[in-house]
Amino acid sequence: MVVRVQEATFDLGAEVQAFAEGQTQAGAVVNFTGIVRNTPDGDLDRMEIEHYPGMTENALAGIEAEAVSRWNLLDSLIIHRYGTLRPGDMIMMVATASPHRVDAFEAAQFLMDYLKSRAPFWKKEFTTDGAEWVDAKAEDEDALSKW
């Protein structure tokens, strides 16, 4: 179980490859990757992501521990970036390894749902109209109720 919070980008292929290799008991590896989405008008210049060093790592490790208690997880990886990101940049990834795919899929979705609204990150979007903090979405909070 690994959590990494970093400013630098990551090599998605290399990360997933390294994660999957050596999982001799796993029958399934699931990866989700989050990308900086442009606005419908295509006027997003950049996104700045702020986080709470210390609490971020603890919160992510806690969410990961919860996933381990609920599903048959052999391993997991969470990478989440902060700092300045441009449209198309990778923001974060999660990977899960399990003997069976249902556990790997569900645990990956659980990790995503929880880190959306329980890990201390905040996004600010800079467009040609100015800068605005991204509001939390009610649907992201609602997503937690299914778990």
Binding site: G34, E50, Y52, G54, M55, N58, A59, H80, I91, M92, M112, L115, K116, S117, R118, A119, P120, F121, W122, K123, K124, W133, V134, D135, A136, D140, E141
Partner: protein
Amino acid sequence: MIDVLYFAWVRERIGLPKEQVETSAVTVADLVAELVQREDRYAAAFEDVSALRVAVDQELCEFDTPLAGAREVAFFPPMTGG
């Protein structure tokens, strides 16, 4: 003394990321009441606490959480990770 941290637009409204506060506040809500009395920028940041989240010693908690023994309190808007 307690470290008080602010993130995102709370940080911007108050104008600093972190400060040390001498306080006898019993709960988070008491601390907010003390800060609001200081200056308008604090009143602006804490205008609607239902729009805010709070962590005591890096654990999410509620505004009625006691501060006894706490070293660090952080105020921020709802989180937008992922």
